[in-house]
Symmetry: C2
Subunit: 204 residues, 2 copies
Amino acid sequence: MKTQIVLASASPRRQELLRQVGIAPLVMPSHVDESGIGGTPEQMVMELSRLKAEDVSVMIAGGSAGDFRKEELAPENTVVIGADTVVSVDGRILGKPGDEEEAADMIRLLAGRRHFVYTGVTMIFLPSGERVTFAEGTEVEVYPMTPEQIRRYVATGEPMDKAGAYGIQGYFAAYVKGIRGDYNNVVGLPAARVCQELAARDLF
Amino acid sequence: MKTQIVLASASPRRQELLRQVGIAPLVMPSHVDESGIGGTPEQMVMELSRLKAEDVSVMIAGGSAGDFRKEELAPENTVVIGADTVVSVDGRILGKPGDEEEAADMIRLLAGRRHFVYTGVTMIFLPSGERVTFAEGTEVEVYPMTPEQIRRYVATGEPMDKAGAYGIQGYFAAYVKGIRGDYNNVVGLPAARVCQELAARDLF
């Protein structure tokens, strides 16, 4: 029996990462209020990933899954994946920038030093309801950047929809000296760890 | 004056990495005999990158640069980039596999442990003739793999044109636990270091 993976996220980068490893996910964005979640970066992203995956699981169970055909969403062979990513630097947590000025502030904060990227993931296996939640951390070291390089990078528009205001898989690759951990975790989903969890259940 | 980057390599992945950071290279594959180069992995890839970049520099200087228009190759504003990548594990150096059986042998060797990927780069700045050569190393940790997973991975065909028989930017991402160093160096070109060298000369 083929397993259907449902991605509880509208992020095109997370979809692309799953396709890269041969998984064609159904995409069902969750509607979760992301405000007011506290704790460490790891706790935050795990909690948000759990809320997202649960929200979509309830949609599937309740039959309110939008335009999808019922047979695509038979709960007896579905894995729902929720994920959330933040950047942590110097005790501050960076989400997506609100405008270009904030994006430039974030890049200035990251240039010439190391920071951490955390992605929290929750996988809900239906119909058993079994779930796993974990957070993966990756250290990223950025080269020093001149004010002109920061200005040019922000002007590309790339920072605006990304946690920490950069895309390691885009132009910003020019400024990433190295990482320690899973690269795809920085892109937005630790795909290898997700595959390990699937493989442990004979689903990959 | 705009600088033209010439990539002395037919690798589509190296071209793609340069485009990712906003550089549109001219592609002029070198014709270098790669056999008989010895030494450590770092020495090997540096020497091969130097031979490749010099071969193409000579082609440009001699006007035998194939179909390119002369004004595209004005030597007064050209940087030639040569690169070579190998995988090193347990004292063995892995290049591209000769057939599927050899690819499977390589993946078996890499599964469940750490190895290093080295890319050597030579940049020749024309017309001064100034050159830099360096090697960048990245440590890669691969999850354990079952015989069935190795068989399925080799069957994708992805290993056949790649040093060490895997593409970290392809399906193999499912099995990469983490890295230490520059991800793009594993793909085939340490693009950030290349950009740093260009920026140090006001060319990026």
